[in-house]
């Protein structure tokens, strides 16, 4: 390992998933911001949905899933908000607007009707109609279709979404759908097989391929049509809109292994952060924090064979939970990989009778934050210039598939706190 000369930025954000990037998007205009990431964000592997809140909170909120109900119900966030000078009434619309605008500029647009239906709910990462994600709050989409007919349309030559398999999985049992499987033959894929999503996206850059698919969809009897992810970020919004408008069907994307949605959201957020002036420091991992008198003065970033010390005025840690690689496991304990910050477990959201298993511990354990999302040092002192965001925080590591809304909200509040002190 070789040390390179130290360097200074206004704000260092560690973590380049949804939380880290949104913190960057919120601050990039006003400060010099560097966002550090190891190139394997959990966001890029996720369903890419920006939906909100747990199933339980959803039922508590009477089925209405939005940021507001989340902010009020998820411990410890409601406490933080109550103690801080922030006002949810203004915070939430502000945050949504910033998010929508930043992503729309990068090609992920949201339809108006959705906005009016749920003013604070979006899952722009894929599309409102994404489906078959694991235990996703939005996969109520399939429940809404109950009793109707669903066509699962595979693309011949593509690896993603085998319609015959999906038909077997869906038919009758869970979703009460009448499902049929179909294959579309697209000229650009003729004679090819096992094409991955990047190659498929390449083929569907052409108008001709899209028109051909529209023709196939029009011939189907079913009103709902599930397709594999076909478009990359560059023509995602226009492609999906064309498929829906021109075919007159409810066309939606499935989320399956080897899909594009998480990557697409990741790409849009990275571009948005850069558009706001953030520097992306990819391929790097923060390995050490330097703390003096309750102030974090520096972070050492390691990149393979080189290390470089970064100084900053403010630090945001958004490294993700244990599954995302932000926290470490030592024996049976979940620990802070920097060995500097306080890690805590928040009470489970349902009453527990037994010791939590590892799966529950993963969900409930994370960095402890105090007022204004300030991180706490391992000896219990509130840090003056370091803030936490996203799934790295105790109480914010939602089960896989619940969506990225919570991460975005905490990131926005952390960014607000940075603005307060600088």
């Amino acid at each position: 390992m070789r040390d390179m000369p130290a360097i200074r930025v206004d704000v260092l954000v560690i973590g380049h998933g949804a939380a880290g990037l949104f913190a960057g998007i919120s601050l990039g205009k006003d400060y010099s911001v560097a966002v550090v990431g190891n190139n394997a964000s959990a966001t890029s592997l996720s369903t890419g949905c920006i939906s909100m809140i747990s199933q339980e909170a959803e039922s508590r909120s009477g089925g209405r899933i939005d940021l507001e109900s989340m902010a009020h119900s998820v411990h410890p966030f409601s406490d933080i908000i109550e103690r801080s000078a922030m006002n949810l009434e203004t915070l939430l619309p502000e945050m949504s607007q910033l998010l929508f605008r930043a992503l729309a500029d990068q090609g992920l647009e949201m339809s108006d009707d959705l906005f009016h239906q749920h003013p604070l709910l979006t899952n722009l990462g894929t599309d409102y109609n994404c489906s078959s994600a694991p235990a996703h709050t939005i996969n109520g989409q399939l429940d809404k279709m109950a009793g109707s007919k669903l066509a699962v349309l595979g693309v011949a030559g593509g690896l993603d979404l085998d319609p015959d398999l999906v038909r077997l999985l869906f038919d009758g049992k869970r979703f009460r759908l009448r499902t049929n499987s179909h294959w579309a033959s697209i000229k650009g894929l003729k004679g090819r097989r096992n094409c991955g999503p990047n190659e498929i996206a390449e083929v569907f850059r052409s108008e001709e391929a899209i028109e051909q698919l529209i023709g196939t969809i029009k011939e189907l009897d079913e009103e709902n049509v599930m397709i594999p992810p076909l478009f990359s970020l560059s023509n995602y919004a226009s492609g999906m809109t064309a498929l829906r408008r021109k075919s007159g069907r409810n066309v939606f994307e499935a989320v399956t292994p080897l899909s594009l949605p998480g990557l697409r959201l990741q790409g849009a957020m990275e571009k948005a952060a850069q558009a706001e002036g953030c520097r992306m420091l990819k391929g790097r991992t923060a390995v050490e924090l330097q703390i003096e008198n309750d102030v974090v003065t520096g972070a050492v970033l390691s990149s393979r064979t080189r290390r470089r010390l970064y100084h900053f005025n403010s630090l945001i840690i958004a490294t993700g939970d244990v599954i995302g690689g932000g926290l470490a496991i030592k024996g049976r304990e979940i620990v802070d990989p920097f060995d500097s910050l306080k890690v805590a477990t928040f009470p489970p959201r349902s009453k527990k009778t037994a010791e939590p298993g590892i799966a529950e511990a993963v969900e409930e354990t994370g960095y402890l934050v105090g007022n204004d999302m300030r991180l706490i040092s391992k000896n219990g002192r509130t840090l003056r210039n370091a803030f936490g965001a996203g799934a790295a925080l105790a109480g914010f590591s939602f089960p896989t598939g619940v969506g990225l809304g919570g991460s975005l909200l905490t990131a926005y509040v952390a960014a607000k706190s940075v603005q307060e002190v600088n």
Partner: protein, 347 residues
């Protein structure tokens, strides 16, 4: 030591998506890191069946970077190649590299022109030209020495041999070790080792346990590079390709230096190129083993540079420069050569 038995793969497909060869060629042409480094190797010694396929990997290290389970995929691929090599299964283009090294101590055959550093300047800075610099792209070592000489006394020991990096990619570890022993004896006593080849630099770091510096690092930290003020009013639009061995094995902090040096160079406008760190196809023995694959990767990179509206494509790596030039369509230059051209000729 890389073992092939351990397995943490949960089939997320991130490596397959990130692989530049899979995305360009399709999975029916190149089965990809997961298939080669995780699935195929479960069958122990029957790795021979992957011979053609695995030699399409450019050893760009991208898969290892995106793997959320942190499986050392690139290292595993190299381990599979070692096992294939043990069964005498080298491709013909690779056989030629081995013959060159046995005959000339270089990965490529010498021609009339060859870079030579005259005079003995003591044991201050060891400059390692590498095979491609010494025998093919002579402007790289010339520019490097011209720039390094402003900071220190530069010399190259007589009798140096290929660092061994190309052989590592082919799986020929016996030769790798023999070259290393001979070179290390010549390297003794030097205060610093500098090279303009990220392939050599990576190999010295990983397999010689030496802290070799890239010329870019030496120049940046030496603070002696004062680019010549530009007289032209129109700025030259350049794109910077990020070689895999700098961006991913030595580490992207060095790329930050390169970007900063370019930004300081008068008359230069650095263009934002999409996927600047995507492999150009120049590494991993693919140019020799599957030249068609290497060419298509280079063409994709040139397209990115043209889309970025660049007039000049810079790459701080002799392997990248060589392969990118095969694609044509844009002028390609080594970064060090460009920096030398844009700095004053006298101290």
């Amino acid at each position: 030591m890389v073992t092939l038995r351990e397995n943490g793969c949960f089939k997320c497909g991130a490596c397959q998506l990130a692989c530049p060869v899979v995305s360009l060629e399709g999975m029916d042409k190149f089965s990809g890191p997961r298939s080669l480094a995780v699935e195929a190797v479960r069958f122990g010694n029957e790795v021979a069946g992957t011979r053609e396929d695995i030699m399409r990997c450019t050893a760009c290290y991208r898969c290892g970077e995106v793997c959320p389970a942190k499986i050392p995929l690139p290292e595993r691929i190299l381990e599979v190649r070692r096992r294939i090599f043990q069964q005498d299964l080298a491709l013909s283009g690779h056989q030629r590299i081995i013959e060159n090294i046995d005959r000339f101590g270089r990965a490529v055959e010498p021609r009339q022109d060859r870079f030579q550093l005259e005079g003995d300047k003591g044991k201050e800075v060891l400059y390692f030209p590498g095979c491609i610099g010494e025998l093919r792209l002579l402007d790289i070592p010339r520019s490097t020495v011209s720039l390094l000489s402003k900071i220190g006394n530069v010399s190259t020991p007589q009798g140096w041999l290929c660092c061994g990096a190309p052989l590592e990619k082919l799986g020929d570890w016996d030769r790798v070790k023999s070259l290393r022993e001979k070179n290390l004896r010549l390297f003794e006593g030097f205060q610093a080792i500098v090279t303009s080849c990220p392939g050599c630099q990576t190999h010295f770091t990983q397999h010689y346990s030496l802290q070799a510096l890239n010329t870019i690092e030496y120049l940046y930290e030496g603070k002696r590079l004062h680019p010549r003020p530009s007289v032209k009013s129109k700025k030259l639009r350049v794109a910077l390709h990020q070689p895999c061995h700098l961006a991913r094995t030595i580490g992207p902090h060095v790329i930050d230096y390169a970007v900063e040096l370019l930004q300081r160079t008068a008359g230069v406008r650095l263009m934002e190129m999409a996927d600047a760190d995507r492999c150009c196809g120049g590494g991993g023995g693919v140019v020799a083993g599957h030249p068609d694959v290497a060419l298509r990767l280079a063409q994709a990179k040139v397209r990115s540079a043209l889309e970025a509206k660049a007039d000049l494509l810079l790459a701080p790596c002799p392997f990248c420069v060589t392969n990118l030039r095969r694609a044509g369509g844009i002028e390609v230059k080594d970064l060090v050569v460009f920096l030398d051209e844009n700095s004053p000729k006298k101290n």
